[in-house]
Symmetry: C5
Subunit: 319 residues, 5 copies
């Protein structure tokens, strides 16, 4: 069993089952932060905390949708955050009551180190709001989306410029990957937003919730709306970028074909003329022999046709 156990006074101690039991029996608020729930951890949740089997089962299987379930004696909350390196989402399961906060995370959330350190310091200084600790954990997770979205914003902008400069197939792959990660983000942001929308309105208040702390939770909701708006607008922009790609490629194709057509339209007639005078008709060979014939028919005619075609192209404003 791996993790951190912060006691009511802010001291962080070992996360043994005994230490947890002691804290429970002491009855003062503590924060147990478990990393990668193992068998011992599951056992602790089920048999020491006596959490509902459904909640423990969910905590054991990551990949849950963000949700807030009220289990009478505790609240079960699933929150997602963005991974620092932009690769995916971080998923944290919280069991919260007025006596404890248990968080279960997959891997180690880098966002929590900072929260733990500050919370420890605050508690040692006497500031011991439990609900604000929960707020700070969720806040850290939600704020982790902003740098990821800012990076996406920039990426879309760059990609759009690149597409207009030179559309390639690699860009299509990037567009699809970005769309996929936006779809993924949307899937965790929307339910999260709805949870915090209802939190303010609902009467099933989290224990320890005060009008003051509610303000902070409403601020979280505000951030989630902003994130959700951003995700929607990036989605729109990606669709636009895909359309731009298609249109740009079509445009390029048009230009290439115009060039081919110009070349063919000039040289096919000219080649026909040279072919004509390359025919082996006896009369032609024996009669068209002088300099005049060569200059007028062999050279002049060609130049005339070429000039005529160029004039035609200019008129159609193709050149």
């Amino acid at each position: 069993m791996n993790g951190y156990l912060m006691e009511a006074d802010g001291t962080v101690t070992a996360t043994t089952t005994d230490a947890v039991k002691q804290n429970i029996s002491a009855g003062s608020f503590f924060w147990l932060d478990l990393i990668d729930l193992d068998a011992e951890g599951s056992d602790l949740l089920l048999n020491t905390f006596h959490f509902h089997p459904l909640a423990v089962e969910d905590a054991e299987h990551f990949g849950q949708r963000p949700k807030l379930d009220d289990y009478d004696d505790f609240f079960y909350l699933v929150v997602h955050g963005a991974q620092g390196d932009g690769g995916g989402t971080v998923e944290v399961h919280c069991f919260y009551s007025e006596k404890f906060l248990v968080t279960v995370e997959r891997g180690q959330c880098s966002q929590f180190d900072d929260v733990r350190e500050r919370a420890s310091r605050r508690r040692q200084q006497g500031a011991r709001s439990n609900i604000m600790l929960l707020y700070r954990i969720i806040d850290a997770l939600i704020d982790s989306y902003f740098p990821v979205l800012a990076a996406l914003d920039e990426q879309i902008d760059t990609l759009e410029d690149e597409i207009l400069a030179q559309p390639t197939e690699a860009q299509l792959g990037t567009l699809f990957t970005m769309k996929r990660s936006l779809v993924g983000l949307r899937k965790v942001i929307t339910p999260q937003r709805d949870i915090f929308a209802n939190l303010a309105a609902s009467d099933s208040a989290l224990p320890g919730m005060t009008p003051e702390s509610e303000r902070y939770f409403r601020d979280l909701y505000d951030h989630l709306i902003r994130i959700s708006d951003l995700v929607d607008s990036y989605r729109d922009l990606l669709t636009g970028a895909m359309d731009t790609h298609l249109s740009t490629v079509s445009n390029r194709l048009n230009l290439v074909m115009k060039q081919l057509t110009i070349i063919a339209t000039i040289f096919l007639p000219l080649s026909f003329i040279t072919g004509f005078f390359g025919q082996n008709f006896g009369v032609m060979i024996s009669h068209i022999t002088g300099w005049a014939a060569f200059v007028f028919l062999g050279i002049g005619l060609q130049i005339l046709v070429a000039i005529g075609l160029l004039v035609l192209f200019r008129r159609r404003s193709w050149l």
Copy 2:
């Protein structure tokens, strides 16, 4: 009449009309699981159970929308699941009251064997919650969607890679088939989700529903939301894949046309020059006879033109 009849104590016996009548008169809860409703079965439902004709008519015709109808003396519930081999959906019609559970399925639901076995064992051990039996049946059906969706997810990913590598027409057919099956899934998932959303909120509680079992039904709702979210996001990704296909093909076309244009732009002028010197003008034949003429006009000019065009292409960064 084909199926299974599980009595209150968990024993599974023959599904004869008499056995059913006995169980009804005994008054203890039993589960009748009918496979492919035949005339005898219909008769049983109508005349022994005295179910409403509308409900029996629906049960006789598969292809119903998921729904929950309250017929005063029993509930009529239609639930869909995914077929194990991904080929389509499984449709189960349930008649549920506090005295019995009657399920009608087309073909044999492989998901039910496991449920029946466990339920039988539990009942023999004394655990006899009727509503939890219903829960387990629905749970088995709903959980059958997850492997199908996971397979779809992988398929979309593979397809996207294939499209970017080499777009073919077969992929378009696959995309359309996948879209069609998603449209089909959506058609059964959405109403199912709505049923379980209302179940929690409604006052017309299923008989035997306790706060504890309600938690489990709310968990079903949770799963259905997740499935519905997945279906929506795959739909989005399929549209994206279709766009990628079109754009990739356009891009390839552009490359092919560029190559054609380069070839034509180089060789049409060169052919014109060879054609020019192949003309049968007497003066040309009789005057352009020396080595110098051949080297300068016949070879040098050609090389010059070819080099000139290559330089031009490089400048336009076409090569």
Copy 3:
């Protein structure tokens, strides 16, 4: 005035104004089924039945949106069905009160013959529920959509296969026609669905409505939801088919262009070589005369170039 008049006891008599007046004064329920409202019919509705002018005006002008209006002393209901031969919709206007049911239809609804016959038989046998008569009429109209939709389903499937096999312009026309008829269906199905959704919930119950008959009307609502779901999913599939058509054509174009490019890339250089040796330079004609020159330059060089290009194509996996 053309139509059918069914009296309370199920006998069908002539539809004269006098017969109607007699029935009204008799005070027992009757069904007047008018086909193509003429001046006499309008007069009957206005001056004998004393219907509200707005309702009669609507009944005179077909092309109404499905709706249910409560005119205090009667209900005015507009319902649409599908024409048997799939060509369009059938529109029926019903005036319903506890004393009568008046239906006005354009042309003769083939769906009604069957309803009338059965209703007549039932009434003669003593089963005289007025609200169930209304239900059966609406049921006949709504069920008429299913074969039309099944035909559409099959048509989309066939079309999709045809598009993948060989995209043509005729398919585009068919796609557009199908989209148009779906748009038309949607326009009448959605309001119809909303009417029956509200019917169950509303307190302005139709006269004669019992909990039992309400069940049947809720079943109508169920059917309408199913139809509406189908229409939406076909719409989705049509859009998909249009995209497939465009992508398939693009793909074909790509293949055609590849072939053209291969042909041109092989034969333009070869033609250049033959052109080269067809030039009339004196030195060339007088020096390149032996068999060796012909075999090496005239034949060998050509084969070499051709083989080189084929190898190149194979490497790019074009052949």
Copy 4:
């Protein structure tokens, strides 16, 4: 100040400030119909009627969204209609209380002449419902959309046929113009519909509204829903037409390219053969001299190649 003043008894008199003041002091209902609000008109509204400055300001600036504002002592209503010649929308501002109806219109609404004439006649005959006068004015405006929409419907149909027959760029311009006018229609229809939806439900009834006249206003709502449905479905069809255009052009392109490819695939190899036998190799000229050589190599080979290619094309079903 230009317009019409209809007094309570139906007589239409001059629209001078004095006449208006007289009517106000008389206290009987009158209709003042102002055309193009000038300074005198504004002054009348502000200082004689004592309308709220915000309402008068709105009336002075056309381009308002349809709305219904309750200014305690009068209702301010903005309604839009379609111009008879299909060119745009007509905007009418109404100030309505139980004592008067003031309408302000830009230009002269051709729809009003008829309304005024009939209202005048009715009033002279003693029928003096104020609310029905308002109804008739709005009805005239709303019904003006139907011919415009019918024209659009026909235009879409014709356009679709033209696109399938021969796609041109002019059609794209027409499509865009139609889309723009639909977007414009939608912008005025949707809020108008919402006004009349609320009118029925709201408790802030217009003065003089009776259950009977409410029926008429509900009929207006009905018409607006129908118009709104039509606008939405035309929008759908226009998008479909745009897709059809793109697909048709792509298809034509494909056909053109096929033809080019066939021509090139036949004549490039043939030209290569003629080029081959046009080479000036001494051995070739001196040895290939007989009739047999000419017939077999010069003619037979060509025909063979041509036939071979045609067979190939037929097999690929290109011809």
Copy 5:
């Protein structure tokens, strides 16, 4: 600390902390307009006004979503306007209570100069409605969108014409930029609209709100709906313009390819014929020697083929 301080009587004085403190202790309403919140300003808000830290933190970080937060002793309102030169949005944070209005803006809002001047004059004349001052500030911000939208409207129109005249890649860039700025506008307009929608309905009225001033705020809501409608319709038009671009380019490509195909279809067969008679078969050279052969085979055949092809093209209506 930079800004303007308007006292209750309309005089504008220096914005020092002392002056603010004096005004607070005086207890009469004043308007403090801060430009670019610096450390001193933040300190003033936190420690002199005692605003909630969350509100001050938001005010320090621009880029907030429009919102209205009720902090018991004051309201915190974020409003966005358009920049005069169309480049982006202006963001203003307002702290409003019955005792003061504090506005914080980034850079200097050009819209405020006019508001300040008029408010000062009005106050000196004795008109001192606090809520109307807030209204005028918001009104100035919201009205700043209209010229920006009018410019967009014209730009879309021009662009559409340009695309139909000659589609270029630069237009695609412009389209994308416009789409992006519309997405940005939408992101600030929608929440702003929702704030003012609720303002009218809510019971948490702003201090000083009267039925009269509420009318003005409802007018703001009206404007925001109009702006929001415009943004949506422009979005639609931009999508349409993108489609038109793609279709136009495809159409042009089709025309170019038609020309190429015509040229190739005419000259490839002709070149083949000249090539044929340029072959060096002895029998051909020695037998086809007369004038007749030259005229019929060398010239007549060519003209015949050319005419034949032209007739063919005309029949297919290609020329």
